[in-house]
């Protein structure tokens, strides 16, 4: 809380003077307030910079329809998107997608190689599918399949755990099935590896 308070104070000062804020619309600022400077992510709010625009739009839709129902989504995102019209949602998605993403690099580096193996090969003996088949060789995502490379460890770990705990995302996502086979060790390894992927 203390850190958030400090950050808000800093942002308030920056907002009044920094020229980089001049080009940002009020709609963008409403997002970056939580999603971090340059939309690079901050604590529980994931990085939006460089994310696939179709994915951002599909998630805005799933917040609006209350399909994505994990606690932070309910607490923050359901209200945040309630008044967004679809044109604004599309503009925001394209705006954030075009910002070059910075890697979080905050996982456990000793687990990264184990995570990389699971990402590429899965664990076929345990019916754990390869992540690479859908998310791509560099975890860059495609269409409405999200970019995972360089997202924060805390966020990746939380998302992977939540599917196993019965929370939802979109209606079509195969992720609940994928994640239900992952144990805590696999989740930590994957989240660690992905936080370092550029």
């Amino acid at each position: 809380m203390k850190r958030i308070g400090l950050k808000m104070a800093i942002m308030a000062i920056l907002a009044s003077s920094a020229p980089s804020w001049a080009g940002e619309s009020a709609a963008v600022r409403n997002c970056t307030w939580c999603h971090g400077t340059g939309a690079q992510g901050y604590t529980v709010a994931p990085r939006l910079a460089g994310q696939r625009p179709q994915y951002i739009m599909s998630q805005i839709r799933s917040f609006r329809e209350h399909a994505r129902d994990n606690p932070f989504s309910k607490q923050y995102m359901w209200n945040a998107v309630a008044a967004l019209d679809s044109q604004t949602a599309r503009d925001l998605a394209n705006y954030f997608a075009a910002i070059p993403p910075k890697g979080a690099n905050d996982g456990d580096s000793t687990l990264a190689s184990r995570g990389r193996t699971i990402y590429l090969d899965g664990i076929p003996e345990a019916n754990i599918v390869s992540c690479y088949a859908c998310h791509g060789p560099n975890a860059e995502g495609v269409r409405d399949i999200p970019r995972l490379g360089g997202l924060a460890y805390f966020y990746l770990k939380g998302r992977l755990e939540q599917w196993g705990q019965g929370y939802h995302s979109g209606t079509e996502s195969p992720m609940p099935m994928v994640a239900s086979h992952l144990g805590p060790n696999e989740i930590e390894a994957l989240a660690s590896y992905l936080s370092f992927v550029k």
Binding site: D121, S130, Y132, R143, V178
Partner: protein, 234 residues
């Protein structure tokens, strides 16, 4: 027996003209007989082996469907995942073996397939035949008429036989010849464009050799037209 069949195909690979047709039909008959024998043998194995591990089969099917779609209708990930629903079991088995033996290059499917026991392989292949979801859809509709013509008549000037001659008038396939009906458009396009870089790898020539000249002789737009046409067949 499968190995013997491969040698036969290899020996006839380079011939031309009318002979090819004759050799092809002999090949197909030979293949069909071998597959019929092979299938009746593996059928027994499935009877005795799989029911004891029913939970294992269910879990493995869910694993397949995570990528290939909940009804086996196919899926678009970073790579297109082919439809398995309604597919010929002999074809699925043959491809899983090709992945394992690295005759068909696909790192993801090698990992998937190399842990499957022979009886599991047969049980999975048989399961998908019984599924009949609607096609995945999404293919461009601009060249469907051209695609239909290629499917039904081939491209005689380019030495491309009618697809329907082997894959059936409804594109359902038979034995080791795959079903094309309802196949994911991007998958069919990718396979026809990259036939020789993915299939028939290594020194052992397999049945994929039959399609190599056909795939090679089609232009990109012809491939896209026929892939779009078959993607909508039910």
């Amino acid at each position: 027996m499968v190995a013997a069949c491969s040698v036969e195909l290899d020996a006839s690979g380079g011939r031309r003209g009318g002979r090819i047709v004759k050799v092809l039909s002999v090949r197909l008959i030979l293949q069909a007989v071998i597959l019929a024998v092979a299938f009746s043998a593996t059928g027994h194995a499935a009877d005795s082996g799989v029911p004891a591990r029913q939970g294992g089969l269910e879990a493995k099917l869910e694993y397949c469907k995570t990528c290939h779609g909940l009804s086996g209708q196919g899926y678009l990930g970073y790579f297109p995942m082919p439809r398995l629903a309604g597919q010929q079991p002999e074809y699925i088995e043959a491809q899983l073996r090709a992945f394992i033996e690295r005759r068909r290059t696909n790192p993801i499917m090698f990992n998937v397939a190399h842990v499957l026991s022979p009886s599991m392989l047969t049980a999975l292949a048989t399961h998908f035949r019984g599924l009949n979801p609607k096609p995945f859809g999404g293919a461009p509709r601009g060249s469907l008429a051209e695609g239909k013509k290629i499917f039904e008549e081939g491209l005689p000037e380019a030495n491309v036989p009618a697809c329907s001659a082997c894959h059936g008038t409804e594109g359902k396939g038979q034995n080791e010849i795959p079903r094309l009906a309802g196949q994911v458009y991007a998958y069919t396009v990718g396979q026809l464009k990259g036939w020789k870089t993915e299939r028939g790898q290594g020194s052992a020539v397999d049945t994929s050799a039959i399609m190599a000249p056909t795939a090679h002789n089609m232009t990109r737009s012809q491939i896209e037209a026929v892939a779009a046409y078959v993607s909508y067949l039910q």
